[in-house]
């Protein structure tokens, strides 16, 4: 494999169009729009109810923010402590600087077991690194076992939501995928399968059962890793996680380095905020916690692969590093007006929505067309920040990244300091900003220009000419007042002289 593999083969950001072009088809697809609207509106109301039950939500959110910030501030110390704890509990810790290395490590561990198939718990980190595709190249088949991941895998589709990767599919589409595709991967869908969610869930249960029962190797991510105890936590709903974490003899967990928390007690915050923010439940159906290996119960061998893959580069950015607080709840996707209309695929990453718009350009850099466009995939309305259970100020980071795209400047890529060049295609923006800077630092010229504008106001067009037409097609141009404000102020002493 090539040395610069950044995940999701066949879907590299370099080949992915910029966000506006990628979103174009989605916003004109009425089925997709309806599916997304239905799902996001359902969950929004439920989340508000679940959060409203806790009178101390603001304090939990603040504690979550502080725990994560403190951990990031001392990340080296907590990673070393985690390594010691996991090792002491019977696990083996591996370190992977990038996607390539993580995939090599996992493939090597699977090969060492002599197995050629693995069952997988839904994991953002393994999607990010394109693990399934990398394993396939090594002749290892990875079965996704989360219902939505199964729908995506069977449909040869791409995930479009962090929590519900098949959110873009409605029940009828899911039934059709199950009917035509399940037989190719194992047990076919039952005869006469209808589109009721209960029947679809039953079909998935039957299809995956045989895979769980024979699985010798499980692959997972983790929601949290506790440095002081070496405990890993996986939060899930269906029980596929429990199957993958307890039935196989070998368990391999690939986890981003930012998932560490210092103490066992810290879980009391996130186990309250995560379920209510993601599925809008008081508690998700199943949470599994394990510390290394346990004699006679669960896997005999446990490997933890700690993944960097751009996280330390993100950590080097004073404004952007707060994105590493993310606990992948997806509440920001569900409230985002842009996500609701554009869907997840347009973001060109396994991390869609507002969090994706700040995470992908930091993990991957802003070099590609899609990554340079993601900071603009927002109206900066701020709803994402409001619902974020760890208070990531997404609009602040978006604006910061826009500046980086337009102006360039220092950044860290793969551990090295680099100076980014200003992106192409923002020449008009830069010219306008330069002109504004000149005008505002030359008050005489500014005043003369404003007076000229006031006197010629009757001649001003109602719409912009040339490339500006698209912008003014849906907006009114601001009307120029008959007299510039500063002239009026000087003449009337701020209105005190009575002359309006």
């Amino acid at each position: 494999m090539s040395g610069t593999f950044v995940g999701m083969p066949g879907f590299p950001p370099a080949a992915h169009p910029a966000f506006p072009a990628a979103a174009h088809d989605a916003v004109h697809n009425p089925t997709l729009r309806a599916n997304l609207r239905h799902a996001t509106h359902t969950i929004r109301a439920k989340r508000a109810r679940a959060v409203g039950e806790l009178s101390d939500w603001a304090a939990l959110r603040e504690a979550g923010r502080r725990i994560k910030d403190h951990t990031l501030r001392h990340l080296d110390r907590y990673l070393v402590q985690l390594e010691e704890s996991v090792t002491a509990a019977g696990g083996t810790v591996h370190w992977a600087a990038d996607a390539d290395e993580a995939n090599r490590i996992v493939a090597g561990l699977v090969r060492a077991t002599g197995e050629s198939e693995v069952v997988k718990v839904k994991s953002m980190a393994t999607q990010e690194i394109g693990l399934n595709e990398a394993l396939a190249q090594e002749g290892i088949r990875a079965y996704e076992t989360d219902l939505a991941e199964l729908i995506v895998q069977l449909g040869e589709d791409r995930p479009s939501h962090i929590l519900v990767p098949a959110i873009h599919r409605n029940r009828g589409e899911i039934r059709d995928i199950f009917r035509t595709e399940m037989g190719k991967w194992g047990r076919p869908a039952p005869e006469g399968l209808t589109d009721t969610p209960a029947e679809l869930a039953e079909a998935a249960r039957l299809h995956l059962r045989e895979k769980f029962l024979r699985a010798r190797v499980g692959v997972s991510g983790a929601n949290f890793m506790v440095a002081e105890t070496g405990t890993l936590v996986v939060v899930e709903s269906e029980g596929n996680g429990r199957m993958c974490l307890t039935l196989p003899e070998t368990l391999i967990s690939v986890v981003g380095i930012e998932k560490v928390v210092p103490t066992w007690r810290d879980l009391e915050v996130f186990l309250q905020t995560l379920p209510r923010s993601s599925t809008a439940e008081r508690m998700n159906p199943y949470t599994s916690m394990w510390t290394g290996t346990t004699d006679g119960d669960g896997p005999r061998t446990f490997h933890l692969v700690l993944l960097d893959n751009g996280r330390t580069d993100t950590l080097a950015d004073e404004v952007g590093r707060q994105a590493l607080r993310c606990i992948r709840c997806s509440a920001c996707l569900n409230v985002c007006p842009v996500y609701e209309r554009a869907g997840g695929h347009a973001y060109g990453s396994v991390y869609p929505g507002p969090i994706g718009a700040i995470l992908s350009p930091q993990l991957r850099g802003t070099g590609s067309e899609i990554d340079a466009s993601l900071p603009y995939a927002s109206s900066l309305c701020g709803a994402c920040y409001e619902v974020c259970p760890v208070a990531i100020d997404i609009p602040e980071v978006l604006v910061h990244l826009r500046e980086r795209v337009v102006e360039g400047g220092p950044a860290v890529r793969q551990g090295n300091k680099v100076v980014l060049r200003p992106a192409k295609g923002h020449a008009a923006e830069r010219a306008a900003m330069r002109a504004a800077r000149w005008a505002f630092t030359h008050p005489g010229a500014l005043g003369a220009g404003q007076r000229l504008a006031s006197r010629t106001r009757r001649l001003h067009p109602r719409t912009l000419p040339g490339p500006g037409r698209a912008w003014s097609g849906t907006r009114d141009l601001p009307a120029v007042p008959p007299e510039p404000f500063r002239d009026w102020w000087r003449r009337t002493h701020g209105g005190k002289d009575g002359a309006a």
């Binding site: 502080r66 001392h74 080296d76 869930a201 105890t229 508690m283 950590l315």
Partner: protein, 213 residues
């Protein structure tokens, strides 16, 4: 250079602008949230547990110690269970009246063998009222993690009010991080189809909780 050294080096360089916070951890992270929500008697906490368990489609029963054998017998009979999985430390009287064949939790059992067992009866480590959660930690009354996972019918006995706490923080205080734990809130479910909750995927599709006290 190993990747371990490379990553730790990158972390340290990335944090060059940050002044370390050398206060003890408990001071560095103030916790102004509540230890529990609301003010309840022990009895009311048990009521809340029952309510929240039922809200997530667990079937809740209440009985005294004398009534347990009879209740368990009826629940297994109603289900038509032929075999029941038994953790090593389960109080024998709980199954004293039950008809199904006892299958004892042994390391030698394959997953395929356990898949043919209809039901499992376990105790629990702690139950959380505010969230309607029961927690198993692999103690002798609960057995290996897989026995409460593979059968489609799980009966869990909670001793009330002793094993019931109000909140998540209180539950974590009672648990030993070294033991593998499974937190269960209602039967297996999914929200993957149109973000709507549907009960019953891979874990037990029927969860019955007996509040014993």
């Amino acid at each position: 250079m190993s990747s371990r050294e490379r990553i730790l080096g990158r972390v340290r360089r990335a944090l060059a602008d940050v002044t370390p916070d050398e206060r003890p951890y408990e001071e560095a992270v103030p916790r102004e949230y509540l230890r529990e929500h609301g003010d309840r008697t022990a009895g009311q906490t048990v009521e809340l547990l029952a309510e929240n368990l039922a809200d997530y489609r667990a079937i809740v029963h209440r009985c005294t110690a004398e009534e347990v054998p009879d209740l368990v017998m009826r629940l297994l009979a109603r289900r038509g269970s032929q075999e029941v999985l038994v953790p090593p430390g389960l109080p024998p009287q709980w199954l004293a009246a039950a008809d199904p064949v006892r299958i004892h939790d042994r390391a030698a059992h394959t997953a395929a063998r356990l898949d043919r067992v209809d039901s499992v009866v376990t105790g629990c480590a702690v139950a959380i009222a505010e969230t309607g959660t029961i927690v198993l930690d692999g103690s002798p009354e609960q057995g290996r993690r897989r026995i409460s996972l593979i059968p489609d019918h799980h009966i869990c006995v909670v001793r009330v009010p002793d094993q019931v706490v109000s909140s998540v923080p209180q539950a974590l205080e009672r648990l030993d991080p070294a033991r593998p734990s499974t937190w269960i809130s209602g039967p297996s479910a999914t929200s993957d189809i149109e973000l709507d909750r549907v009960e019953g995927v891979h874990g037990p599709r029927t969860l019955e909780v007996i509040l014993l006290g």
